[in-house]
Symmetry: C2
Subunit: 278 residues, 2 copies
């Protein structure tokens, strides 16, 4: 059996079943004292290419995608730990730009490792503290589904030959985490991420695309691209956030456009084998 | 300026000078509450090759080199976070073996990330707690230099076409951390690692090779190979550990064999470009 056959979620399920890794909620692990730890890797040719992103934007992106996982845990970030693998003929100035980007969100880099490699790869660990981590398993029928901002910016940028700068939704995450029944970030695509809530919570997520706020220049297809890094929450009261759907009895995700079902595809690192970046 | 010209230590110094990353002591970062965080990457073709190591041993190694950094901080390990980049045509069973090896030291894997890549790369973050982290900067003239076990096993194994299993020196680390003036693990080679103590502490490290305990089959040259992952400490009282030298006034490292100076080379990931693994 190859990884391409079981997929990323299949691998994670198998690791959990055998007791080889604990369940990963929100892509973030919780330790004692409210400590939350996230780790995300960016690999050249898989997650980015240098014709789409500058060294500085790559650094910002590596920090931001991890901070997004902290935001989805309602955590206040405290530190980043950065491992950089890079060809030895890389310019020092490029690496310094990368670290400048990593520092842009203002969370200190307290350690890490550097090593040579054929391609550039970055692994970032973010540490923070949260009083309450909603996770993905608490949504109830009747909850409203809300997002913290417009979707589709990542898809628009990619069509225009670049990678979008992810937003930082840390304060929104801390606010939502106080009461949300489920909370995560939209990284794999709205349908896939809503599917995580549906599967873990034992509910059906119904999303009305006409209510999804769209980024400038985005159309409906761009919503499926993922990598928008807005937060998606199941809440009783929407507060200031955009209501895009609701939770119902049942299972799975139902994506509708003016009442008609439509399909939105998402992303699995091991299954998709496009020759292109995605 | 290329990384190959400035080297790994040059890069780290430049990052620190510009405020882009904090000083890395013991390859471990300290946060509040005694929390210690380490991160180390293993990249195929740089740190390992599959003709030298099995999937299971690779997993154990990835855990062990990080736990070695915790040991050098006197920390009790609490959790591992693992990022795995792997080709999608990898067998699921091989990946499960890798995670079985990662679990061998008994420290739970609480989260992480998986992604596809052309080659196998692993980044592990280890979290632990320590009441006292000696660091590298407190050695004083008159201190004794001690090691926790024999050196050279990694060199012997490599000459025999495999990678040695690193030892776990967690209890020794906790014991030494209570009183040591400086403490680190021997990963880059005895001369290089002693050089870290000398540079940070402002002392001269004098090592008598005839007092260095040798692993089975090892000779003096194997000591320079590094990757033995024994602990090296500057202490007032050696206790049960092997005294291999002392700290004196001055700077730098003096390696002697029966009183005569000899050279031992060490390892810098960006400078050395051997066609071979090291």
């Amino acid at each position: 059996m190859k990884l391409s056959q079981v997929g990323e979620l299949g691998l994670l399920a198998e690791l959990e079943r055998r007791g080889l890794a604990r369940r990963i909620e929100n892509d973030a692990a919780q330790l004692g004292d409210g400590l939350v730890v996230t780790q995300d890797a960016l690999v050249e040719g898989v997650h980015f290419r240098f014709d789409l992103v500058s060294w500085r934007d790559l650094g910002f992106r590596a920090a931001a995608v991890n901070l997004s996982d902290l935001a989805a845990s309602g955590a206040e970030p405290e530190a980043l730990v950065v491992t950089l693998a890079v060809p030895i003929e890389t310019d020092l100035d490029d690496v310094l730009e990368l670290y400048a980007g990593l520092n842009e969100p203002g969370v200190p880099i307290v350690g890490g490792d550097t090593t040579r490699a054929e391609l550039v790869a970055l692994s970032v660990t973010a540490l923070g503290r949260s009083e309450r981590v909603p996770g993905r398993g608490g949504a109830r029928p009747g909850d409203l589904l809300v997002v913290t901002g417009p979707l589709g910016a990542a898809g628009v940028a990619f069509r225009n030959g670049r990678l979008a700068r992810p937003p930082l939704r840390l304060s929104e995450g801390r606010q939502l985490a106080l009461t949300a029944h489920a909370l995560l970030d939209v990284s794999d695509g709205l349908a896939v991420d809503a599917g995580h809530i549906a599967a873990r919570s034992g509910v059906r997520c119904v999303i009305d695309l006409e209510h999804v706020p769209l980024a400038e220049g985005a159309d409906i297809e761009d919503i499926g691209f993922g990598e928008d890094y807005e937060l998606l929450a199941a809440v009783e009261e929407p507060g200031r956030f955009h209501v895009i759907g609701r939770c119902a009895e049942g299972s799975g995700v139902e994506i509708r456009l003016r009442g008609e079902p439509v399909a939105l595809t998402g992303w699995d690192h091991f299954r998709k084998q496009d020759p292109d970046l995605r």
